[in-house]
Symmetry: D2
Subunit: 379 residues, 4 copies
């Protein structure tokens, strides 16, 4: 694994938990952790249970005892590492967004296809049991034709003007702001649940245009370490309206300026036979409505998705005992491991990452040019 | 109508609204309002639309143009007025609790029966559409055998030690405290929905034992008007556990010391086939659960009881447009008027008031003697 | 009053309740109700307490005993009636949207200004206590600079393809669909709370393009009375993104195809010092967040706006006792009556109606031409 | 560790996660897992990462390489094992309730004290961050004097009459039913947050008196394996009212017949300066109310306890990312390990287990004899 911050921790933990909770032949072995700062990476490896460390990812890729490369570094490094790893015949999983640009994403997709390695992208929210269950309901036709998909992803961790100019606020490192960081999750969920998108119109805003220099100090916290100001080159907020291929009417908003909302990732789907509502802060619950419920008793059912009917839930605790954020990674990486064992590509993969990148790109163009944009389809 | 404070206002408004919202032959005429303070009662009559005033309720009862007596005075006056009104052949509606004592309640019940007048007691919460609908569900067997009835009535308007010793805090005027004022509502709802009670054990507490003298200044607000302290002679809080005749397991709590809860009147009913939950602060909503819902989609449905299937709802606005507290009185007094027109006794009546009084009395005895009490049945 | 359906009922009731709940010199007298069907209008007048009827609104306007004209007819008739009433020197209140077109709206605004009559438009949601209180919080700077305004108005009463082609689905009668009917409320709330809008981009959809002919049967219910199909000429759903003059980032969606949502009118406002959330189905509650709350205890406060600090609340019941939809009309019409008595124009008025119409028009143009539109300012 | 079902899994997982999430010198080594069925225990050891197995707990206790004994067996075996382990000088952690009887509990407490080993009892709910935070608020006086403690623990996994007579339904194995299984958690939380109890009156019920024989099949699921019926000898539901030493007024209910509630463990605390509400199904949220919040903005704050101010939260993910049920065990066992390393007894310990047992015993006596019972204090 390359990288060992917030996401590195989430992935490491998930690998450890897979064989504990799931009956599987895939036993991930935490061979080597890679980072540039030797001391820091050694400490992280110790804490998280990695057997060895590397300080140069190129060395890691050369190692014969490594079958899988997990990329949890900042966005601008994904492409180079992934392409090299593919060439080396390693299976690859990478954090989202796949890349900084459509071009990079395309190359990455082609590299993994050419070298026939297993590849996934970490859109972990797909793997919330409530969302997998939503997918089942939709596939079974329980919601009927989908009229609306309505998603918000609301955070508030940078409303303080003294919050520093971390890498997530620099376009050359992160590609975009709230769009690629959190909006990308909503886009991926929409594609997973409702299908492909046809066209989009978007609006972005950067509320605070300059910030003091400084760095992350863990999680999503950061401290200014300079009086000097630097320019924020990404969006603080983005909204976009989408027409899906299916005719579904889509509305999206992602922002880091939604005061009071720490990580409010929500959506609502309205179909001709029913609706669902979901909210990450209460990720185990799913509100479900069916039009064929008896009149007088119609209402959204508050379903606690911890029962044996709910995907992944049986691996854990009795009904009514909730799981948390980290379990989304356990499920995703479980599927990745199964995929490798069974030599059968899982989803979401680099194709999804590439398609998502095409959408992110269209959104940015739409916001820049203030016009509707057609969304290209990945081959 | 005798009395013109909080409840007087609620009743007056309801009489005015009945013919507006309901198609009925019963058109209440607001003939006369009665109160001891001439000036105040004249002002109230003007505001609320009463044709005339009286300052002595005995005079009111003598009047030939009065068919109905509505008693909204403090509790210790109910009996004398109601019995006199019954003797005068007036139909009677009175606020709850029916009386101060079981003996008074019994006399009142006998008086209205002997003089064959229509009688009701204002347990207005029965007339929330969600609760009438709950009653229908239970009667239809939709919840099956009832295991549990669990009620809380939580208020917080007297937690300030400077809140004065109003009449509601004096046993000789009000009979009891949270028990008779709000617990009585939970008792009445329980009897309405689940049936009669067999035995009870209770606990009461008076957290603040002395308060400055003072009076109500409107609604549930009041101001101290003296440095002098007087003894609080009623309960601030009461809890009781009940076995119903049906075997249902009942738990109740009523308190005026539940900080942060302005008027949180709630219950939950658990039956073998389903459950309901209700909360007066969201009185239009009813949470309903059915065990025969398909596995995986089981959960409490949040039903907004504003649809044509819900009792009284069609009299108002389209589905989704809520009604409020005052509508409970419109429904109750509508039933009272229909009852008079149709010469057919409605519920809850003085028989219910008497039975409720027997329960209140058993609860007080149980709390005093710290033992289980059998609940007598009204004849 | 001209018209006597859903809105006519709401207005009539409100006039009756104003002097009951509010201490005011303005006593509305329900002089005359006007409708084309004599029998029906007579029955409505009887039920709702109007003294006389007219079947031709021109006759009504001629009457000397009429000071005020209240227009609750379908949208395409507003302009002609209002202009005539203004010429006759009557004070005017009209249902929203003000008119079918910008031109009509402008004429109406000019007419009331020229003839110096008092004028209002029925954006009743402004008058929910929680919303008036939100306005106070914003005006006091409690939320700081506003980053986001995010509104949804979700209904589901026409998802059944057999729901007939009522007047609300015909452009020539209603002007637009979900946009003018419910989206207009969100627009008005946004202007009231956050200020004027600069530019907009919109998307609309008509999911069901043909419907059987038929008519309303009360409230929002309707029945098909023919096998014949007619074309739906308005939007079923609309979404739009707005930049406000203040830099606030606005997102809106209004739809009649949000299955399971009967009348879910919601918004969230995020500011640098705090946020609020509101939902009409729980209209008495306001969720309020402040950034200066002590760390560890920060969270949205669930405020029940029934306390003396909340506008209009003291006119009703003690804290914790909720009011309903109809009270929004009581408050609005109370302000209208006060306005007439005090000869001081209240808000929202025809100027607001005209500005709202300019916005509706820009939205429709934007959706038609698939481009951003600048929003003109009413003079 | 002795036992490897539901609780064995929770404990095993927690031991593995402690060094991952917490910076500690305590690294638990999963030496040996003990169970009577060799094949089953070997499979469990393999899955959960235990180094070796034993089929006789007496052998386990003899082993020199074992420092700690973790007892997750059915309740009737706790005493014998724990006492033997104490004699062998092992540190001990045991599942709750501590024992079947007060006498056993006393012996266990005396044994660990005499042999000076570290001892804990697994009341895991104490270790939810929201609850530890509640404890801090109370200790800081933020709620003032506590008027009310009101707890419900509602489950519904045995409402089906065909659910078999598992060990949890046999008094000789489990001691009691809902009381010791789930009510014991509420009792422990009450003591942790509000303090010791003075007297109690209780009511119990067994709704279904006979059930088919059968066994657990995992989690809380079970299957009948016989037509034969056996007698249910424990309570299905219990309610009790408590006076705390502090004068706090306590009400409790625990039931396995609350249809629709899978694991609804809730409480509300009302104090003179504030209140809190909590619910295990949304365990990361805490509703907090303060009386000194500005009038008009008073309401329960919905706090998501994932911030650095909240105990244990910083070990995991950024604010807004929730944790689940299993984390309560990580925290509890982390404290246990710290306790051993630092040779400093942590809470809750066998003293708490003994005191809880005295309360359970008083409750059972009260229910049997239908009278108030004084609660003895553990020495």
């Amino acid at each position: 694994m390359i990288g060992y911050q917030f996401m590195g921790k989430a992935h490491s933990h998930a690998y450890r938990d897979i064989p504990f909770f799931f009956s599987t032949k895939a036993k991930p072995i935490l061979k080597a952790l890679c980072g540039r700062n030797k001391e820091a990476v050694e400490e992280a490896a110790e804490t998280m249970g990695w057997e060895s460390v590397e300080t140069d990812w190129r060395e890691l890729i050369k190692r014969d005892d490594i079958d899988v490369i997990d990329i949890v570094t900042p966005n601008h490094t994904h492409a180079e590492i992934a392409i090299a790893a593919a060439k080396a015949g390693k299976h690859i999983i990478t954090e989202k967004p796949l890349a900084l640009t459509v071009e990079e994403a395309k190359e990455m997709k082609e590299a993994v296809e050419q070298h026939q390695v297993i590849h996934m992208i970490c859109h972990n929210y797909r793997f919330v049991p409530a969302i997998q269950y939503t997918k089942q309901l939709i596939d079974q036709g329980r919601l009927g034709k989908i009229f609306h998909f309505r998603a918000n992803y609301l955070q508030d961790f940078i409303i303080d003007p003294n919050f520093p100019l971390i890498w997530r606020l620099k376009k050359e490192v992160s590609g975009s702001g709230s769009l690629g960081d959190i909006g990308a999750h909503s886009i991926d969920l929409a594609r997973f649940l409702v299908g492909e998108m046809d066209e989009v119109v978007a609006m972005t805003e950067t509320f605070i245009k300059e910030r003091p220099l400084g760095e992350m100090s863990g999680g999503l916290k950061a401290e200014a370490n300079s009086q000097e100001l630097g320019e924020v080159t990404v969006d603080d907020a983005v909204a976009f309206m989408v027409r899906f291929d299916s005719g579904t009417f889509g509305t999206f908003e992602a922002t880091r300026f939604a005061t009071g909302n720490r990580n409010r990732n929500t959506f609502e789907i309205n179909g001709e036979k029913g609706s669902v509502r979901w909210d990450m802060e209460n990720m185990n619950h799913l509100d479900v409505y069916f039009t064929d419920d008896e009149k007088g008793t119609q209402g959204f059912r508050r379903v606690l998705c911890t029962e044996e009917e709910h995907p992944y839930a049986e691996a854990y605790w009795p009904a009514g005992h909730i799981i948390g954020y980290e379990h989304t990674f356990i499920h995703l990486l479980y599927e990745f491991c199964e995929s490798i064992i069974n030599k059968k590509q899982a989803k979401p993969d680099f194709h999804d990452g590439y398609q998502n990148q095409l959408i992110l790109d269209a959104i940015q163009k739409s916001a820049t040019h203030k016009r509707w944009e057609k969304i290209p389809k990945a081959d």
